[in-house]
């Protein structure tokens, strides 16, 4: 049946983003239970069929888009527009997009009936029958439209080619209604909030982040201007099955269990700030559609379609996952191309050393206690505890593939937990306190752990910030308050309890064996520092985690039997896997700068350490407190043969000071990122030999790693042709067996990072020199696209920092890419009274310094303190600074960066 284009006279007004010719009406025979036989219903929908015809190509398939309550097809306008965009056509071909107005909603008929879920799923099928939709269909849903679209999907499996979901829920099975919905359903609130007044509409529209413009808000309101037109809005809310007795419960249950057997590709685009359809529903959906690709738009809310561009990623995802016939052929060829490094080859499990040494009585892990004493576990004891704890966790219900968030400070307890989880094939989620409370909260919610194990402080945070997962206390509570606390903190078990349960199993001889984890399954989720935006979850498989261990071992000759001081978290967890004896110094791990020289020396003395892993911030304090060292402590440090400073670059001068403390140590500063640790390495002598250049010399690639450069064009876009040529500045590319598997629930980010086949795009910028050494020049977003070409800020910043009164400098570009001008922002010593233009004298000095490295400056600003990341307190957020400088120099209110 051909749908009628709506006569022009019936177009009440132009809505922003809706093209003329999209609007259609169609009379559709109804088979819904609520309608008597022979009834027809008048539908209104948006259809881009004319746009597709104009491309002269056959559509790949049809996106069938279903809005929720209280929106209408307008919600999907960006998909209609994007479906025939040049990018979508080039990637996979045009898509037909049909966005419906459900009956009693939008501009479809007001039926005067109360349509329940079963009616609505039937309605949608009636419409697609009437339209005679041929070819593959991808269902797309939002809000309660998600359930209806999935209901259609489960009843049209032969046509179904994929599922796209945005902030929705299929909630039975222990799920309770979100508080906001419970309120909406309350008899006292419901009729007034949904029908009599437009409050429900206003509140929903108000969820957009950032706020909707007036004309868009008006478009969303257009079909619901009178109470008579809002019947559907009220009925929709009343049809939410709050319990098993609700008439729509069976239909809902059929959908939520039916989707478990959908085997088509699925894509979920999510706004985590949604107060109703929150992350918990995403996690629930992932248990039903575990193969789904996910992108969580940090900061976006319920109307994710309005908050972010969902069209570009949707069509990119469709091109990859629901290809047309010609595309499918090309895709098969691409799959045959050489894969990512690390997909094959020998694999030694993370637990191999622990298993091999389970009879040894020598120390495996040592904690330095605040009172100066030590707590030690031998290899035998560690192996036993790991297995006991794994058994106890298993008894509680932890299984392979479950995510376990570990909020426990480094030391014996954390080590035992990590290896117990690895033993079970459970995925460790390590969000460290260095992210700050807000950052950690976002990280944990994003990763969505099934279990959360923490010290009391962390459990309190979990309670306050509503972190997901079954709560487990890392320690027993003191008997006096144990019951009260367990209740308040909602704790299901404690670690000592679980270990005791596991011990009983062992002693009774009833413990089943543990199976070895599949190397290609997920092992760990780590987090980036979040210096440039929210921290990103980074997933490592067992194979890649093991490769990180092997790379470290090969690069630094860390044989089994090495004794190491673990002052840098990500490497610390590798000690038992390396077969190394590991000691954790006495320090507040949330603040690296609390490590004193004495604490470091005591830790080294406890195990006759030969290797030290530390962070730059920790070493700064070690140098500052060196005067306190007693002769015995000095001797312990003299035994150190290798000292690694990882996390951020370290001034050469500081390294020399460290060298006087550890005179026999080779001082190395590896370069790497959460996505690949380490990538290159350089020692103190190498730093001296490299001298001054454009950027920071970070040395040669580590064992098994390759580094290349992707050049950049005049507008700052990456040219996807890797080069090893010297002196070409561009994005740093890494290929190694120990590169991350993927970003966690960040499909778009993952696509960008792997868009150059075989390489991880680091987001860092730099160049190789004639000796093959890598020089890091900053972050990709720090480049300046000036009329004189693309420039990086590092050399100019280093030159400016030589000006005596300058403590720290950042050089940023302002203005449009391609014609940006450079601005220096400096922290002065002493700090300026207020931020603003530098004095003419200082400006002249800074200009001259920058000009000496070919960086003419448009302006010099002083600032009281630079915006930096929480974890390292060293990475300057230049993107923030650039926006601030732009406001300052446009004469606007600048505020804080």
């Amino acid at each position: 049946m051909v749908a009628a284009a709506l006569p022009v006279t019936e177009l009440p007004e132009p809505w922003p983003g809706v093209r003329a010719g999209w609007r259609r009406t169609l009379s559709v025979p109804s088979t819904a239970p609520v309608d008597s036989p022979g009834t027809s219903r008048q539908w209104h929908f948006l259809d881009n069929a004319d746009d597709v015809a104009a491309t002269g190509m056959e559509p790949v398939g049809t996106l069938l888009c279903v809005h929720g309550n209280p929106t209408w097809s307008y919600l999907w306008r960006t998909l209609l527009a994007g479906a025939t965009s040049p990018a979508a056509v080039a990637a996979g071909g045009p898509w037909r997009v049909i966005a419906v107005d459900q009956l009693d909603m939008g501009f479809s008929e007001r039926t005067g009936t109360f349509r329940r879920l079963e009616d609505r799923i039937t309605d949608l099928g009636d419409l697609t029958d009437a339209l005679g939709l041929a070819g593959p269909v991808v269902s797309v849903g939002h809000d309660w439209g998600g359930i209806i679209s999935l209901g259609w999907a489960t009843r049209h499996r032969d046509q179904l080619a994929g599922v796209v979901l945005t902030n929705t829920a299929v909630h039975p099975g222990g799920f309770t209604l979100p508080p906001a919905l419970k309120l909406a359903l309350h008899p006292a609130v419901h009729p007034w909030g949904t029908k009599t007044s437009p409050a429900f509409l206003s509140v929903t529209h108000g969820l957009a982040q950032p706020a909707l413009s007036e004309d868009v808000r008006a478009a969303f309101m257009a079909p619901y201007r009178s109470a008579a037109r809002r019947d559907g809005v009220g009925n929709f809310v009343a049809d939410i099955p709050a319990g098993e007795g609700h008439p729509s419960w069976p239909a809902l249950d059929a959908v939520s269990s039916g989707i478990r057997t959908l085997d088509v590709p699925a894509f979920m685009l999510w706004g985590p700030k949604d107060p109703v359809f929150s992350d918990r529903y995403l996690r629930d959906l992932l248990t039903r559609l575990p193969h789904a690709d996910v992108h969580r738009f940090e900061g976006a809310s319920h109307l994710v379609q309005e908050d972010r561009d969902i069209a570009t990623p949707t069509f990119a995802w469709l091109a990859q996952n629901v290809p047309s016939r010609s595309q499918a052929h090309r895709g098969a060829l691409a799959d045959a191309a050489p894969g990512h490094a690390g997909d094959a080859g020998a694999f030694t499990p993370m637990l191999a050393q622990l298993d091999a040494r389970r009879a040894e009585t020598s120390a495996a892990v040592v904690d330095m206690l605040p009172n100066g004493s030590t707590k030690k576990l031998s290899w035998a004891e560690l192996a036993r505890d790991v297995d006991d704890l794994a058994a106890g966790l298993r008894e509680l219900g932890v299984t392979a593939g479950d995510r376990v968030s570990l909020l426990v400070p480094p030391g014996i307890n954390l080590t035992t937990l990590i290896y117990a989880c690895l033993r079970l094939g459970a995925i460790i989620v390590v969000a460290d306190a260095g992210l700050g409370t807000r950052g950690m909260s976002r990280a944990i919610k994003g990763a969505g752990p099934d279990y959360l194990i923490g010290i009391e402080k962390a459990l309190l945070g979990a309670r306050l910030y509503n972190w997901p997962g079954v709560k487990i206390a890392a320690e027993d509570f003191t008997p006096a308050t144990a019951t009260a606390r367990k209740t308040v903190l909602n704790v299901a078990a404690t670690i000592p309890q679980l270990m005791a349960n596991g011990r009983v199993e062992r002693l009774a001889g009833t413990r089943p064996g543990f199976s070895t984890a599949d190397p290609e399954t997920d092992a760990a989720v780590l987090f980036t520092s979040g210096s440039t935006g929210p921290a990103k979850g980074v997933v490592y498989t067992h194979r890649r985690l093991a490769a990180m261990r092997d790379t470290l071992a090969a690069t630094y000759s860390l044989d089994a039997g090495t004794a190491l001081v673990a002052g840098f978290a990500p490497f610390a967890l590798l000690g038992p896997a390396l077969g190394a004896t590991t000691v954790t110094p006495d320090m507040d791990v949330t603040a690296p700068r609390t490590l004193t020289a004495a604490a470091l020396a005591n830790a080294a003395a406890a195990i006759n350490a030969t290797v030290v892993f530390a962070s730059p911030a920790a070493l700064v304090n070690v140098v500052a407190t060196a005067a306190q060292l007693a002769p015995g402590q000095q001797k312990a440090l003299a035994g150190v043969e290798l000292l690694l400073s990882a996390g951020a670059p370290l001034a050469e001068q500081l390294l020399h000071q460290v060298q006087t403390l550890a005179p026999n140590a080779a001082l190395h500063t590896p370069y790497g990122m959460t996505e690949a640790l380490p990538v290159t390495d350089i020692d103190l002598a190498g730093i001296g030999a490299a001298g001054v250049g454009n950027g920071v010399c970070v040395g040669l690639p580590v064992s098994g790693a390759q580094v290349a450069i992707a050049p950049i064009d005049a507008d700052g876009q990456v040219i996807p042709t890797p080069t090893f040529d010297a002196s070409v500045t561009g994005e740093i590319l890494v290929s190694a067996a120990h590169v991350k598997e993927r970003y966690d629930r960040l499909w778009i980010t993952q696509q960008r990072s792997t868009s150059i086949p075989g390489w991880h795009r680091s987001g860092d910028i730099g160049h190789l020199d004639a000796q093959g050494r890598l020089w890091v020049e900053g972050r990709m977003e720090h480049i300046l696209c000036t009329p004189a070409g693309v420039k990086t800020p590092v050399a100019a910043e280093q030159a400016v920092e030589l000006v005596p009164s300058v403590a720290r400098a950042a050089v940023v570009g302002i203005g449009p890419a391609g014609t940006q001008v450079a601005v220096a922002i400096v922290e002065t010593n002493p700090a300026p009274k207020r931020s603003g233009l530098a004095s003419p004298a200082l400006a002249a000095e800074v200009r001259a310094a920058a000009l000496s490295v070919d960086m003419p400056l448009a302006a010099v600003l002083v600032i009281d303190s630079m915006p930096t990341d929480v974890r390292h307190n060293s990475k300057i957020d230049r993107a923030k600074l650039s926006r601030w400088a732009g406001r300052m120099l446009a004469g606007e209110k600048a505020g804080r960066p």
């Binding site: 203005g815 391609g818 014609t819 001008v821 233009l837 003419p840 448009a858 302006a859 120099l889 004469g891």
Partner: protein, 339 residues
Amino acid sequence: MSTSGPGVVGGGRRVLVTGTSGLLGRSVAQLLFDRGYSVVTLQRRAVDAPWDSLQGSVADPDVAARAVHGVDAIVHLAAKVSFTGAWDEFVATNIVGTRQLITAAQHAGVRDFVFVSSPSVAHLGASIVGSGAGAASPEFARGHYARSKAAAEEMALAEDSPTFRATAIRPHIVWGPGDTQLVERVVERARAGRLPLLDGGRALIDTTYVDNAAEAIVRGLERMDYAHGQALVVTNGEPRPVGELIAGICAAAGVKAPGYSVPGWLARGAGSAIEKAWTAAGSRGWVHDEPPMTRFLAEQLSTAHWFDQRHTQAVLDWTPAVSLDEGLAKLAAHYRAQG
């Protein structure tokens, strides 16, 4: 008498330059002359120059007809430039004058027409941050000067055809030794302590050293094959905070730079009031100078305006020869020579 200069580039091509009383017009005429063009100038005052010159107003049709006689190309700078004044005065010189000159030129078979314009014709009051030359807006440009220039520019470019090629060159804030428009006003006001910085002088502003502006205008003529039909903003391509620019000019002139700042919003509001009062007072003959602050000036001093120069530089095949700092050094030398 020979009116073409020693250079060979011009090859004796006869060029009329209007509005050479001012620094920029004089520099353009001198540059053309030096390059071997045959130069004739038209200005209100008599000048002492090695080339032919006519005295009169472009708004006078007889003068215009005489001036274009035997001319191959015209560089039209003559304009009423002021922050204040009655709209009719701007219309007479800037719009009607340009109209008459174009009509006369077309009658006389003049081939090329360079209209010297201003970026203010497209400045609607908001900051300009790395933009290209926007379309001239006779309706919304700020102030009588900018509106009248916008109308004239639109008119000139509308006449562009293969037989009468027209381009608009928009130099942004021209300054240099001997400049009475910007430099001397800044210096005088600073000397009198009447020059506040707005918002601490943070706004990033691009300017044009006079030699660079003159060179770009001459390039407009020489690159007419590419430039015709277009408006091109010309600057030094070196934006600086306005406070630093003013400090630089003051330092060159040996006067103390302004030490106090007022909020931009306040100056913009006060500027409107002062401007109205001054115009009213001027009409009664009470005041004869320019007001200390106008809304237009306040906007110019408190919002950023700097431009994307890539297109201009490509079309004109030109880059500024004198940097901002070199320009300030020349200015300082000029003031030292004056004592």
